[in-house]
Symmetry: C2
Subunit: 193 residues, 2 copies
DNA sequence: GTCTATACAACGATAGAC
DNA sequence: GTCTATCGTTGTATAGAC
């Protein structure tokens, strides 16, 4: 017999399913409480504030995303596939969830404050992307790995922002194709040298 | 002797300078009123609601942006330069204003509602981009013009989103380089056929 | 740990006078 | 057209009981 998740987990689930698709500021705490079937007092006992709940939900989400990305990198067979696995992971990640575009960029867009735990959670996503892409670009581009990593990160950002804009359609396909071209350009440049 | 701008214009100026850098929902009407030195009643007499003021500010901003983009396209000397003028216009546009990333995408991120005058203003930006890029891509890519236009739009979205993320740095430079690669790929493909 | 009830502040919008 | 003063609502957070 399946145990009902704790109030804390129900709140995080509600936060994840509503906050990043309907907007953080647009979603009152009451709605999260209703969906989680939790009283205000319990929520504030667990998290202390709405912002803290948001930050927690973001941290959990980053861990989830990291796992999905990891799995796709590990499943890839060569250097190029490992770098481009970012886009396959993105496609897979989106199939299983309800996100308009990107929880982290959406949060950054709503919260202009550059300090605090929410900003930190967003920065963690950016740091993860920058670090891993640089690492994955190394075997392909050598001396210009930083440039390639920058290009792939920009294309990734563009894929996410294209979901938000609603154009171009099939953003993952277009993004992957662009990233592939960038890889090809660096690969042939590295061969020439 | 310079006349003081009308209350209406002062409100639109205040909206533009604050709303899209600090966030729409995060900015109370009171702050716009203070900055514009206008009373609540006057504002509501002119616009009727905060949302209507936002929509008006977006419409004015789109017209401004369109003018800047136009000028850069006209100044360009060849097909490729005309298509890539998007990025030169973006760099010039940003030098003159205070925007965190993009007023239209930021508004879309905050307002999940798909109907209403605010959503319409955002959609107008997307429509302008899609239409013009397709037109500019035609002479370069011929039969695959739609694909090239999609790629440039995604890179443009990525450049804007990179401002928001704070990475990669020099997003306009990276974006322009990516768009240039996309053009080159289509040009050589068109020559082969 | 969890509840009900409520305090307190912020915000969007309006009334009525000039 | 513009002002001052204020209304009604919503939203975050807490008090106090169980």
């Amino acid at each position: 017999m399946p145990t009902r998740p704790s109030a804390r987990d129900r709140l995080l689930d509600a936060a994840e399913s509503v906050l990043f698709s309907s907007g953080i500021r647009a979603t009152p705490v009451d709605e999260l409480l209703r969906q989680a079937e939790v009283s205000p007092a319990t929520m504030y006992a667990h998290f202390g504030s709405k912002d803290a709940l948001v930050a927690q939900a973001l941290r959990r989400r980053l861990a989830d995303w990291q796992r999905v990305w990891d799995a796709h990198v590990l499943a890839a067979g060569d250097d190029t596939s490992r770098l481009l696995a970012l886009f396959d992971a993105l496609a897979a990640y989106r199939e299983d969830r309800t996100t308009r575009w990107c929880a982290f960029l959406a949060t950054a867009a709503e919260h202009t404050a550059q300090e605090g735990e929410i900003a930190d959670a967003v920065a963690a996503d950016t740091a993860l992307l920058a670090e891993r892409l640089l690492h994955l670009a190394g075997p392909i581009a050598g001396a210009t790995a930083q440039e390639l990593a920058d290009e792939v990160l920009l294309v990734y950002n563009g894929t996410l922002a294209s979901f938000l804009r609603g154009a171009p359609a099939s953003a993952v396909v277009v993004g992957r194709r662009l990233a592939e071209s960038a890889v090809e350009a660096h690969r042939s440049a590295a061969e020439r040298s």
